[in-house]
Amino acid sequence: MREPALIRMLPDGRRLHLHDGPIDLIIEANGSKQEVAIAYEAAAHRFATILDELCAELPLLRGSVQKNSAQPQGVTAHRMFAAVEPFSEHCFITPMAAVAGSVAEEILAAMTGAAALDRAYVNNGGDIALHLAASQHYAAGMVERPDRPSLFGSLKISTADPVRGIATSGWRGRSFSLGIADAVTVLADRASAADAAATVIANAVNLPNHPAVARVPARDISPDSDLLDLLVTREVGPLPLPDIKTALDAGVRVAETLRNRGLIHSAALCLQSHTRIVSPSSTPFFMEISQGSLLHA
């Protein structure tokens, strides 16, 4: 039975929670009370049909994007397609690689289109679309392993930074990964681009045919997976240091390439407690590998 979408304010009275099927959004807008109310109204209104729109084109969105692929119709689907298109020449990719970021971006666009906000974010399970008006900032913590939720770093994005999207991908996450990274967090100019790039970089952190890595065809787990029979990572045993370096090097090379192409701003790559950062040297370093604000004993 179709479960109705959930649209509610969280008990803190500040944040909006939207949930439908696999989409789960936490939204916060800052600004005048009136503008925030208008923004939330717009988010809820836009949200009401977004899953149905995507599902109407699901077979197309699950298909590999190639040079002459047919373009989808829906606005959100189009964001997904545009986000993965730059990668289509170099690797297997489907628009689904950018679904979470694209949904976040679409809802944010509905909010900022309807109301004048100082700041807003739409967080879709860790893939985040941001809006920052003058002199605002957004702070986020980074988690390496969802099964051991500790912050491995923090980042702070200010209005002046060219970043409006944050996304994380890794084999421990909810979506399948072809790579072995615990987590790759990417900052890009928009959430859909960050989402697609995080997927691609996480796939690249890899050690093909390594005995410590267990992989199975995606369809063995999810019969309708867009990854078909590509081998997805299910378990990564402890790796010797040189192998960790090799895998991270491979990911860093791809991340550098994407950065040079202007597709991402920066990335943090995590594998078995080893972290590598790819970021522009010219701009201030705002991604910090630190301990958040836990109290040190």
Partner: protein, 492 residues
């Protein structure tokens, strides 16, 4: 879709994605799963699931909208633990919470933090008579040194794991592996450890240890000599001599004081090793994982030949280990050579009795950490006053609601039994260091006196309103209620 899916695949219709879900898997949302061919809504939160599977009663997590009505959990019956207080993703909120509640007419304050402990470790007690390795030798995980063998205690071997020197004083890899080992042990997971020149053990808090692939069942009832003393009467008349094989003190019935008192006839039995007093032998063999913590697999190897002067044909001999797990029964032939025979019914009971009196062997994990200045500063503006208040027992210290033993002397160095804490209470940071919950509970008036952050105190009802981030568990019955206003003694 034209694909043919296996018959145990179901199609979920909870949303328009219409996932095909294989048996034992969940759909794209992680909320609906195929369990035994049925579409089932599953709660994504592991904590809750585990508690359910253990039969722990739970107060249901409320998804209802609107304000907390206060009827389900009365405020003073709820204790906010520090688990998750400092690490909420992605909506990060800094610790500490400082929560006030009224208990029996007294205003109490609980300061709830998650501390990062670089100075921390685990004291591991492994119930076994087997020799795990020489004292002071390194204990390794994944080949990295993570601790050392410390004292042998009665029926157990203690290992000391972690500590700042392994966490941050060695190579990066040593620190990382140490941190993971401590984290897994504290969260109740099984860990494999190897001891230099010693055994390999698999341990998990509250579970029987596995030594060199063999699960330990029982702790010994006493040393070999004590066992002779305890069971001499039951053996008298049913057997001519008994040797209780033990790495510490091997006992011999016919020579032992207990045997003498009963009038057991001399057999002239001669044992390898160093005789301590009559019927008590040290070092009958090398330490090992065989009989009674020795390296013996054939007990006859510790016997010298029987002499005609004392022994006689058909002499009945029982050899048994201190846990009764190993035993063998012999009768001497005409040439006074022991021949193994089936254990007579009359002796089976005494061997079973030894086994019965041996308690289940377990591995126990005690987390030990020190709350340093900056953590204490999160509680009060004047950290030393918190130490003082803890020492004077005005402030109760708990970890995830479990009582902590506070060491005498300076600082707040505490120990806590991880099995009394909720599951997965520990985290880590890549420093590397462990993140452990710690709560300080004291009277509100005392809190103000010690320079507490009174401006940040929030009423409990207020904290409970943020229920989307909370899981409520029933406290373990063996733990005293942390909010009892009259803090008298920290539980040991």
């Amino acid at each position: 879709m034209t694909d043919i899916f296996p018959p145990d695949t179901i199609r979920c219709d909870a949303c328009p994605v219409l996932c095909y879900i294989k048996r034992g898997h969940a759909g794209a949302c992680d909320r609906y799963a195929n369990i035994e061919g049925q579409l089932v809504r599953v709660d994504p939160h592991i904590l809750l699931d585990r508690a359910k599977s253990q039969g722990t009663p739970l107060v249901p997590f409320l998804e209802r909208e609107g304000d907390w009505d206060g009827k389900i959990m009365k405020g003073q019956e709820t204790f906010v633990t520090a688990i998750g207080a400092g690490t909420t993703y992605p909506d990060y909120k800094p610790a500490p919470f400082i929560v006030s509640s009224e208990v029996e007419g007294v205003d109490m304050v609980t300061v709830v933090t998650e501390g990062i402990f670089s100075y921390c470790g685990v004291k591991l007690k492994i119930d076994t008579d087997r020799h795990l390795g020489p004292e002071r030798n390194l204990v390794r995980a994944h080949g990295e040194p993570v601790g050392h063998v410390t004292t042998a205690e009665y029926g157990s071997q203690m290992l000391s794991l972690g500590g700042v020197h392994h966490l941050t004083g060695g190579t990066k890899s040593e620190g990382r592996v140490t941190c993971e080992t401590l984290l897994d042990l504290c969260n109740g997971k099984e860990v494999e450890l190897t001891i230099d020149e010693g055994a390999s053990v698999r341990v998990a808090a509250g579970q029987p240890p596995v030594v060199n692939g063999q699960r330990e069942e029982r702790m010994r009832v006493g040393c070999g000599s004590a066992t002779i003393g305890m069971f001499a009467k039951q053996w008298f008349g049913k057997v001519d001599d008994v040797v209780v094989v033990d790495d510490h003190i091997t006992g011999v019935l016919s020579e032992h004081q207990a045997g003498k008192l009963l009038g057991v006839r001399e057999t002239g039995i001669a044992i390898q090793g160093r005789r301590s007093t009559p019927g008590r032998y040290f070092q009958v063999a090398e330490p090992g994982t065989g009989w009674g913590g020795t390296n013996i697999s054939d007990p006859l190897t510790i016997l010298k030949p029987f002499k005609a002067k004392f022994a006689w044909p058909n002499l009945r001999l029982l050899m048994v280990s201190t846990t009764g797990e190993q035993y063998a029964y012999y009768e001497l032939d005409e040439a006074l050579r022991p021949v193994e025979k089936e254990l007579p019914e009359a002796l089976k009971e005494s061997v079973a009795r030894i086994r019965e009196n041996c308690e289940p062997a377990l591995a126990s994990v005690i987390f030990m950490g020190g709350a340093g200045g900056s953590l204490r500063a999160g509680v009060t503006e004047n950290p030393v006053k918190l130490t003082d208040s803890v020492k004077r027992r005005l402030t109760r210290v708990t970890c995830g609601g479990a009582p902590a033993y506070i060491w005498p002397g300076g600082g707040i160095t505490f120990m806590v039994d991880v099995t009394r804490m909720p599951e997965n209470a520990f985290g880590y940071v890549p420093t590397p260091a462990l993140v452990a919950p710690i709560e300080f509970t004291l009277k509100k008036s005392d809190y103000a006196l010690l320079g507490g952050h009174v401006d940040y105190v929030r009423p409990l009802a207020d904290v409970l309103k943020e229920k989307e981030r909370q899981r409520q568990l029933t406290s373990l019955p063996q733990n005293p209620w942390p909010l009892k206003p009259h803090v008298e003694s920290s539980e040991s």
